[in-house]
């Protein structure tokens, strides 16, 4: 069985190694660029012994230059990798066999269908796990210093590790997404028995699940912290002061019964006690890892469900 699995997936393994090498080269280049820019703004010293007054400005400048840079584009590119694994490794796993009729050979030898499926899944998931873990370790090496710097700039609350663009590109989440994508692809392939159809379906479902989890579930993994920030000037904007750096700002509204409308009225005609505080809801920065673990857990649990469904489908798969 091992021989067959290796024979059928050696091209994928080689491509994966190539992709890893390419990614490594890109990351090395990005790391160099980020480091030279950080040095240019003198961030190293500043971050070593952090002082708000001088450091904040430097971090702000650094951040602005980073955001303008290709960083966000590259991060978006990284996010496409799990979907690619689902489309090109997951979807064809069962579908291509059925489509080409080779399942009639593979499933009529002396190996049970369950073992056939398990061997293929272990091989593909194993390759994917190792590759994505290695890649992600490298990505984290490059991106964590950037989010650390971003988190330190209080003026840019919500721009750091918790911002939606960044949160699911760093830490352990991308590995969980990749395993999920492969499991999803395999089950779509077993369901549709058509490679191209399964590829399209896995892409649609993957994006759908990712977006829904990120926007609907993620803010609620733990009850958000609510605090009030006093307003001193009548038309003061909320800046994020009084909230720990790196926190995820979920909502800030002027609190005075009528919310934003009340705030506008107060700005137009200031009167005593009119607008006196902001109601701020946020997820504190130190919840980054718990949130990563919770979301990874969700995707790994979904993967297990999908693998079980795949097993049922393959067992019942008819000629």
């Amino acid at each position: 069985m091992i021989w067959l699995v290796w024979r059928q997936h050696r091209i994928e393994a080689a491509l994966m190694a190539g992709l890893l090498a390419l990614l490594g080269a890109c990351l090395l280049a990005a790391d160099q660029a980020i480091r030279s820019r950080a040095a240019q703004f003198g961030l190293g010293d500043c971050l070593a012994h952090y002082q708000t007054a001088t450091c904040g400005v430097k971090v702000l400048e650094f951040n602005q230059s980073m955001i303008g840079l290709t960083l966000s584009g590259s991060v978006m590119g990284l996010k496409a990798l799990p979907a690619l694994a689902g489309v090109f490794l997951g979807a064809p796993l069962v579908a291509r066999e059925v489509e080409q009729g080779t399942h009639r050979v593979a499933w009529t030898q002396s190996v049970t269908r369950s073992r056939w499926l398990a061997s293929h899944l272990i091989a593909v998931m194993g390759i994917v796990l190792v590759a994505s873990a290695v890649a992600q370790a490298a990505v984290n090496q490059v991106l964590f210093p950037v989010v650390d710097a971003q988190d330190l700039s209080r003026g840019l609350i919500g721009r750091g590790r918790f911002q939606p663009l960044m949160f699911d590109a760093i830490g352990i989440l991308p590995v969980a997404y990749t395993l999920f994508a492969v499991a999803l692809g395999t089950s779509c392939g077993a369901l549709l028995r058509r490679t191209v159809g399964a590829m399209v379906l896995v892409l649609v479902l993957f994006v759908g699940v990712r977006v829904s989890v990120a926007f609907l579930a993620r803010p609620n993994y733990m009850p958000a912290v609510t605090t009030t920030v006093a307003v001193e000037m009548p038309n003061e904007q909320f800046t994020g002061a009084n909230v720990p750096p790196g926190s995820w700002l979920i909502d800030s509204s002027a609190a005075q019964g009528n919310g934003n409308l009340g705030r506008v009225l107060c700005v137009m005609s200031p009167s005593p006690g009119c607008l006196d505080h902001y109601q701020v809801t946020y997820q504190p920065a130190d919840r980054f890892w718990p949130f990563q673990l919770i979301e990874s857990g969700i995707f790994l649990a979904l993967s297990l469900l999908l693998l079980h469904a795949t097993w049922l489908l393959v067992r019942r798969q008819t000629a």
């Binding site: 091992i2 080779t102 030898q109 008819t318």
Partner: protein, 299 residues
Amino acid sequence: MTVLKTERLGKRYGSNWGLRDCTFQLPAGRVAALVGPNGAGKTTLLHLAVGLLSPSAGRIWVLGGSPDYNLHQILSRIGFLAQDHSLYRDFTVEETLTMGRALNPRWDSALPLERLRGLRIPMDRRVGSLSGGQRAQVALALALGKRPELLLLDEPLARLDPLARREFLGSLMDAVSETRMTVLLSSHDTGGLERVCDHLVILDSSRVRLEGDIGEVLRTHRRLVGSTRNCERIANVQAVIQGSYTGRQRSLLARVSGPIIDAAWDVQEVTLEDVILGYLGSSSSESDEPARPSMEVAR
């Protein structure tokens, strides 16, 4: 000993029955032809036997076990040649045999290798680049390497030219004489089967029409040719399978229980092809059912 046995076996695809009320037995050591037109249910029956399908009705036993419960044990003892000789087209011939060894504990390495060498099939060529006849031989070698007790072949002769067909049947006969395995091979045409088969199962419109030893079948069927005026019962004729008229001549295919001594009828021996065509022709003319959609064409 019965190697393959079905009892009112049925398989439904949606609202259509691909196979229905199929009851027959295949004794050990036989080389049986499973004959019927496209869509008769031959592939369905074979797929039920190897567990690629599970029955909607009735039961099936293969080598004493049920594919639903001990498929694993059964599969290690049977060889299966799927339609179109499904193989991994990007594997070389050698890799195909390596796969056989990797997936079968009872694998006999020497047998398929010798067989393919004898046929001068290049071991380093990709399966996809072989001719249809060569690919069929590779598929057969892969199935024989398992040293099966029962070999099931789904339309192995379709798409082979006459020469490749003859070579394939030759290889099959060699293997049968060496191993004494039981063979069930399906075919939608009748040519050349007499040379290799000694047992016949005629399947039509998803039902078994006739089943038995070919010698016995040939002994008990006769063609009677006579004048159209003779309509009375003929002694020793059990059933008229099919009748046709040409001018004033009447030609009947009949199942008989003994010699027919009737001056009004000219009695002729029949060939296997006569019997098969007679049974298949009679069902389509008598059947009220509309023509069945051909599953094999749809695939």
